[in-house]
């Protein structure tokens, strides 16, 4: 039973939340330009580390807002909670974001094209 600190409502039982999987997956801006292999990476691959995991949660039985969280999947320790659209503020969380293979994936490069 995790105790999750919703950025809007404060600490609540995990039962109030909906888990949304890996955080910071950018949707390809022009998915037609991706090969089936590249698109499959976007569609099906989720970070599944034993260790720090950057993940999304939604306080579905509360404010219904989505947010990001850094949690250690080996211990369930929660390092930090931070808003959508931002990066973790902890050094280890940021490193986990940076070291994710996805940063160099075709799908994410495709997505960044829109941003840039």
């Amino acid at each position: 039973m995790l105790l999750i600190n919703c950025p809007w409502c404060g600490p609540r039982d995990d039962a109030e939340f909906h888990y949304g999987g890996e955080a910071h997956i950018l949707r390809p801006a022009n998915p037609s330009a991706l090969s089936d292999e590249e698109f499959a990476e976007y569609l099906f691959l989720q970070q599944n580390p034993r260790g720090l995991h950057l993940e999304r949660w939604c306080h579905s039985d509360g404010c219904r807002r989505w947010f990001n969280m850094v949690r250690d999947t080996a211990t369930n320790r929660i390092l930090e909670v931070y808003p959508m659209g931002e990066l973790p503020s902890s050094q280890s969380g940021l490193a986990a974001w940076r070291n994710n293979w996805r940063r160099n994936s075709a799908a994410e490069r495709n997505a960044r094209n829109r941003v840039e």
Partner: protein, 355 residues
Amino acid sequence: MLEKGWIGGGNTGRNTTIIRSNYLWDESAAIYEHAMKLWEGLSQELNFNLMFSQRGVLTLAHSEHELREMRRRVEAIRLNGIDSDVLTPDEIKRLVPIMDTSPNLRYPVMGGFIQRRGGTARHDAVAWGYARAADARGVDIIQNCAVTGFRIDQGTVRGVETTRGPIRASKVACVVAGHAGVVAEMAGFRLPVTSRPLQALVSEPIKPILDVVIMSNAVHMYVSQSDKGEMVLGAGTDSYNSYTQRGSMTVIEGMLAAAVELFPCLSRLSMLRSWGGIVDTCPDASPIISRTPVRNLYFNCGWGTGGFKATPGSGHVFADLVARDEPNAIAAPFSLDRFVGGYLIDEHGAAGVAH
């Protein structure tokens, strides 16, 4: 054979031991039925009593929608040559007198189907029996020896690094349920699996009250009674990734409420022990038996909540794949390619609740 802890210590020794082959899709039916046929002579083959007990697995339907889905599954199972019988609520009541089959239930029992060849086996015995047989055939079983990395040369596996030193090998086969993603990462590729806690529990032992295995998707639980007399209960996985082998109390509460709802007499029994395992689940709730991006490295994983029942079949076709470097007809649909092409084997219906 390298084992990080002790043999049978992962999901083999943590699951609720249900065995069945009544799956919807042809691909699933093929592998689970292959396993079922092997189960049927396995105690004798291994000369180890696995207590494989074909007491029947009864799946319940609680709504018109579930009845329709059930009929579809039953027809498909039947035409695949696998046994299954549809039961009416009255027949279910006769078979399982402790079940509340009254129409006033919040989700009344509207019918069900039973695979009479399904049942349970003693999970530890399966690990031990296989280990003894493998040992007799010259397999070195090394426990307390964790793989820490792979030796890979130009895209081909050459061996493994372990906590007790390197081992060279021309082929490496990984069957590391619960940690498939972690081990794949060591070899430099990724698998479409997520690892989540799955909990189960047993009650204190009581005199026999339930002979068949009961599964219900709508109210989310499954239950059987062990030979020792314990009621063995399980439900679905937790929603989030974790390697802690500890799950949410919410899941336990939901499972027990469902159990009491269907079996009111369970209310006064006591939960004796609950535990968690880690299951690797694929997006389509079907397993992976496959070559990998690294040549001569093979994975058998992603069984989610359903790996135990497939044990003999999955091991058999996996061995074949490793030996020939080519999947046979049963294994082929479960290759990693399916996630690229999109031909998934969506067994969420059959695996909607863990089993």
